[in-house]
Symmetry: C2
Subunit: 361 residues, 2 copies
Amino acid sequence: MSNLNLNIIKKDGNARATEIILNNKIIKTPSFMPVATRGAIKSTPHMFLNNTDVLLANTYHLHLRPGSDIIKELGGIHKFMNWDKVILTDSGGFQAWSIPTKINDDGVIFKNVYDGSSFEMTPEMSIETQNKLGSDIAMIFDCLIDINDPEEKQLAAINLTRAWGLKSKEKHANRKQSLFGILQGGLHKDLRELSAKYMIEQNYDGYAIGGLAIGETRSERKDIVNFTTKLLPENKPRYVMGLGDLHGIVDLIEEGIDIFDCVWPARLARHGKLVDGNDYINIKNKRYENDPNPISKDCPCFTCKNFSKAYLRHLIHNENTSSWLYLTVHNLIQTEIILDEARRSILESSFNQFKKRYQDE
Amino acid sequence: MSNLNLNIIKKDGNARATEIILNNKIIKTPSFMPVATRGAIKSTPHMFLNNTDVLLANTYHLHLRPGSDIIKELGGIHKFMNWDKVILTDSGGFQAWSIPTKINDDGVIFKNVYDGSSFEMTPEMSIETQNKLGSDIAMIFDCLIDINDPEEKQLAAINLTRAWGLKSKEKHANRKQSLFGILQGGLHKDLRELSAKYMIEQNYDGYAIGGLAIGETRSERKDIVNFTTKLLPENKPRYVMGLGDLHGIVDLIEEGIDIFDCVWPARLARHGKLVDGNDYINIKNKRYENDPNPISKDCPCFTCKNFSKAYLRHLIHNENTSSWLYLTVHNLIQTEIILDEARRSILESSFNQFKKRYQDE
């Protein structure tokens, strides 16, 4: 029995507006998940994100600090963070790619980024940890490899993810938590097909397309996602992991993707690059030195309601840490707003019109 | 004509509760000014400080970046920061002590901390800059020296501050801005007396006692302030510069000081040291690892309303930059609350009772 239901409200081409309902909460899609790796968005109170339906937290990091037993004792991840909307936990699979590891059939020997020691994480451990954290959606522990790794390595990663998926599924014991499978296969359509088959056999509550946004071109990505979504069941959420660039997101909304996540809008903000309509501006530019206007005239975010571009330029120019908050809030709120506009365009059958704003990079 | 009126509402011993009224704004004293050096409190939106009547900004830093002409063009410091309550600007005198400089009779050859170049600041320039910034209260450009510098050097500093004060006063040309004098003289009562005489002769809207909180003991400081306040007019604000430690503040409220400022509560917070009642706790301590309670049960700050000690410990333990915001807000709000309690105790003639909480360090 799944704790999750997806209702397709409207389709426009392959693009879709859905409502994902779980644990008496709702995710209106297309939806973007801000990244709260350790249970907090960098520099930014999550309370500022009024429109956000779902946050992403990370199993690897929360396992190490403060540990899932402590979070469970404190009432679970929602209570710990004070966020009662949806939380999805990534499994640690991304860290098995981004942090030096040894991978074997049973799991991954990780380096502990906090003290340099080694520890093993198995698929079972990852799920047990996520069960204890009590996120609404858990991810299976997957094997992510480089996009350009040779085909036989891609095949091995798919097979390992299949085996780990089975172990994850068997271990999973939290009825209030959905479990999503993860497809791999790089840019090989035959492998994507095989990976989709393996995952669908295991019958997950939703499907993530992994292994993208790590070096492929925009059109390669769009092509693979176009191919892959056709293989996936209509009535389950589809999630592309690690994509936060607006142009790239709109590309994949067009291909029927429902959920996205990335550190990108927050990281860009800390470097002064801000979403402004369908483009970005660099607030560090001298032209904003005496600009009395907010970043975006109609933006409802805390920052645009309170501060001018001149003030924000001044703060980031002087590396004042409050600027990270102000700029991050703007980018995250704007990302939500743009995904909400995409949703409305789908509901009004005008997605093709909407997407034109994001066709040029 | 002064733009400022001070009404003594109640005295309890030498301690006093006043209302300082200027530009249709009010400072209820004793009052603590959080430090927004560059027009922002580090890591913290000033909008979070509901109870704060007055912020401190800095002439040296705003002169260099973004420059007072830009701030004037943007409508002044209040509009620039989006803070319509009182703003006091320090003159740059503190930086003439804290940053390597050459001092001559005309002014100070400063190093520009941003690019290493040199520039001169004179008393006239400091006042002109503050006039343009449009703060409610400006400070004269003073000569601050080490507390233990020999008596002849202390005397020279007093004489220079007297001369610079005159130049500041003559240059001052903003009717909506008060101007405060600054007393020097280290720990020498005869010099403090001379300095008070010189400043009172120049007839300022308020008087700061400078040259303290830079190395003297708590009782040395209390003794000097006790001596000095007796020399000052009753109907003008009294401000001790650079003191933020609660025990030290309560000491000087007892001696009739109205206004304080310091980076201390914010800096302590960034190191995990938090005001809890009349004491401090270190939130990094392992004992808080699974503590589900807020820092202070009755604290109305954003942080105590939203987060547990366990969560805050987790964030600062992992150097998550959002922790700086959460911890700073708490310390600043608590400092305001404690000064408000001091005020109420004066109004109720129970300051002696109140101060007992802060007698031991």
